[in-house]
Symmetry: C3
Subunit: 397 residues, 3 copies
């Protein structure tokens, strides 16, 4: 397969050794070359699969999933990625386990990992908790490997935490790269990451945070727009600003959806909850203050309600670059008149972009598979070449 | 393996090209040759497995299961079929997903299908809904493939809907064929699909409907028997009548269990709910009229109670052909004095047929596997031959 | 791999033919050679995996898990063992199945087993029920195979019952053997299986029973210690006494934790419920006497409370052999001041032994895999040799 040679050549030019044997928590902990390597391997795996070449590199092994929130697409993306590489998914359903009965994170992490090569965790519910939990799991299995308890250290993949959502934003980015014909064409492109109205409160911050943390690395002009009171984590804004400075792009903020949309090449209108409110909620949960939570939720809904004009309409789309900005969403979207009375996006806009939106989502399993691949192989070029040469059919032909 | 040559020869004589790349919804949408091909491939796969030959044709891929009702045997049959061919089962548990949160069928169908080769759906609860839902899923992934969202289109297999239960009735038929030594011996055989009393209301109509829709294609005399008021879907009765006319059999109805049993070669006594009542119930659910549902259920139980004499007893069995009709049931049966006070079948009858009943069920995984096989391979003969030649042991010997 | 030759040689010297085609219910139903063969194969499989050699012997097949109680480690151990050998795990979740709707054990066992090679069952809740249930399942599938319903008979593995917990105690024993450098060094070693205080009632008896039933076969001096009123099954004590006589060890009882700990080489302090109380509880459940159960539980908690001094403290550890006994627990432990106010073990003791405890647990997947391996292969030596020669990498290298 000639194109695999191209991917291998691209990898040869990158310094991605830091991915081997490590976890994937936050995109901004990874170098530009490492991020690039993930995109490259994702594309290579997709190319092989599209050509009916099996990329099953594991003969056995478990991919453990921990979902602390309902999930369809991430669950299936993780399952698809594991299956593609040869791992069987085993869900750690905390309701069915003895975790409540006095087990520590350290203990559980080791107990489930004797045969595990990957642990995928989604834990985005509580500010200050999700990412911390993932790192605790990671440290536990690292120690387990060191002490000879585990024969192999399962890598931890962040399937969404309170800070970042790397598998989502990298799938988004893969979609952008494909749309614009290559990462080299992104310089100067304008992307609007904007808040949008939703009749539900408490949507995670990981997407807007992850987007400004990642998209500022490609020389793009990234604008974060939201009504006053919907601030995100300051530390991530700092990351975005530093990225922009280092990679020759821009990062700016505005309280106006229209300003962000003006001449934008890409728009990502999506609801989220104010960081401060989410932090408060975490505290209330910690105190089992359910009255307080109810009160807070009521306040948040009322606060949202004051910003129903933050909707991605056809009129707003018209002021984007040539009226043709690429519309993004992590899905499911709150579509006005469809899934709710008033929502994040007008139905005609959503309908027009449905097919590209689904394509955007289609990158996620490959991004996850690439993260695992690069975490497990020191020389992915050699493995990709062998797979391409072997040409074992995925479906017997 | 010489017998594989026989199966291949049988397939060579059949025109089953219409199965390739398509779904399996209703048996009467398939031609006689196509139905025959499913039986042939099911037998071939069973023969290979019995000889410890692996028929794993997928190196990776997901088989997605959607069960909108509790299920043991169909769940395990689907899991077994997928596993046999090399697919990993991923359950779309709607409780664990975000489906409730505003996702459309179209969206979910695509989101779970990036790595999916098959989607098996059981949705038999509501009249007018189940089959419709399956077709919506099918259309969504067909469009997804067309638009380049999906690299492959997962085929949809009907694991039971409001109209038909093709994997059940074809397993039943495989059992009948084996019992009578070949489909060619079925001409003129008499089968009684009869209602039977059960202390529960609301049992699905898919089995009686599926049975009269399928069994009328083999030159058999099919009698549908039920008390007045337990009518099934008219459109399916029409299918049965047309089949009988086309394939040289008979289709008749009677309100007498004894009449149906008289000289029957095969009896299939099983409870079901009146179609009209089920239609009414669907409407009540649509209106969230839970009072109305309770009332309806009470009425249905009372109505059932007037027909406790519809029980498959030893006396009734005696009037079948030589007193030896093949007794069928899709299981679990309501056995009088065992699983309930008064039920569908007398304990001695059930006990005498326990072993054949379990054999009847044993065909289902192979029927499902054959449907997938024929949906995925344009030239199944070539693939079967390769598997037989390769002789890769299922269990290392 | 030279070491595989050693394992094969060890197997050559053992008479373990009785394992082939059989289930694994209780360790004391197996001969010394058979037990030894399980340890040997477990080590061999671990050695191969550690050397990145795939031991996937199944190309397809299901491993069915039935958990009638919450479980983390046993669930993952079973999943890991099945996956290691090539089986896909399919959970029989009784809540999602139709088992409640009139299916018998015999029927369900056959219905789920058409493609099953193993059934792992955990059912330890009710005295007199768990092991009985497993044997009913076993008998059902044995009959299913005999009658031609099943093409293969799935073997039943006891993942914990009311009598024994063989996969746990054999993992414990594998850990002991490794710790002391070989089974041949265990002669005369003193092991204390003692009760310990826990703020929860009703912990299963299977571990203490399993421990005295297994550890008495290695020439060790086994002491069972518990407060009066915490008696275990008499029949298992009898097994222990007979083992001690036959294998040249000792089995004794004492109502003093300190006496048991004195000069012990190994200590296993763990809470359990009195056998008589558990038997009573089973009766109460049978009668749906929930008032009676509540009352019993209250009494049990009060009874436990009178024995808070049964804690594995540093002071107690000091009186063991050189103050360095190997501390064992099946996990999760009730750690004083950590998972509860007062518990089975002092935090410093637990912390000091954390790493060995996790290693102890790490043997379980291999023990389960070895049980399956020996149940499926008449000549495991030949299969191990082939795997070692083939050297198919578990993770593509």
């Amino acid at each position: 397969m000639s194109s695999i040679t191209d991917f291998v050549r691209r990898l040869d030019g990158l310094d991605f050794g830091g991915l081997y044997g490590e976890d994937f928590f936050l995109t901004w902990e990874k170098s530009a070359d490492e991020i690039n390597a993930v995109f490259t391997v994702a594309e290579a795996l997709r190319c092989l699969r599209e050509n009916n070449v099996s990329v099953k590199v594991f003969q056995s092994g478990l991919g453990i999933s921990v979902f602390r929130d309902n999930s369809t697409r991430t669950r299936f993306s993780f399952a698809g990625a594991c299956n593609l590489l040869g791992l069987a998914v085993q869900d750690l359903d905390e309701g069915k386990s003895q975790i409540a009965h006095g087990e520590t994170v350290r203990e559980t992490a080791n107990m489930v990992s004797f045969m595990a090569d990957v642990i995928g965790i989604r834990d985005d519910m509580y500010i200050g908790k999700g990412n911390t939990y993932m790192r605790a799991v990671s440290e536990a299995v690292r120690e387990g490997k060191r002490e000879g308890i585990l024969e192999q250290r399962p890598m931890v993949v962040n399937l969404q935490c309170d800070i970042d959502h790397p598998t989502q934003t990298m799938a988004d980015m893969a979609h952008i790269i494909r749309h614009f014909g290559g990462a080299e064409n992104l310089k100067g492109k304008k992307i609007a990451m904007t808040w949008a109205y939703s009749p539900s409160y408490g949507k995670p911050l990981s997407v807007p945070q992850g987007v400004i943390g990642l998209m500022t690395r490609f020389g793009m002009e990234v604008t974060l727009a939201h009504p006053q009171g919907y601030e995100i984590m300051e530390s991530v804004e700092k990351v975005a600003a530093e990225n922009a400075a280092r990679y020759g792009g821009k990062f700016s903020k505005t309280p106006s959806m229209a300003e962000a949309f003006a001449d934008a090449d890409i728009v990502y209108p999506k609801s989220w909850a104010p960081y401060a409110a989410m932090e408060k909620r975490t505290g209330l949960y910690g105190n089992n203050d359910f009255e307080g939570i109810k009160k807070l939720e009521k306040e948040l809904l009322a606060q949202n309600g004051a910003h129903k004009d933050w909707e991605c309409t056809e009129d707003l789309m018209k002021i984007t670059r040539d009226g043709k900005a690429l519309y993004l969403h992590c899905l499911p979207a709150d579509i006005s008149g469809v899934s709710c009375k008033e929502g994040e996006v007008a139905a005609p806009v959503f309908d027009r972009y449905r097919s590209p939106l689904y394509k955007q989502a289609s990158y996620k399993p490959y991004i996850i598979a690439a993260m695992i691949f690069l975490g497990k192989f020191r020389q992915p070029q050699r493995v990709l070449t062998r797979l391409a040469e072997k040409k074992k059919p995925r479906l017997l032909a």
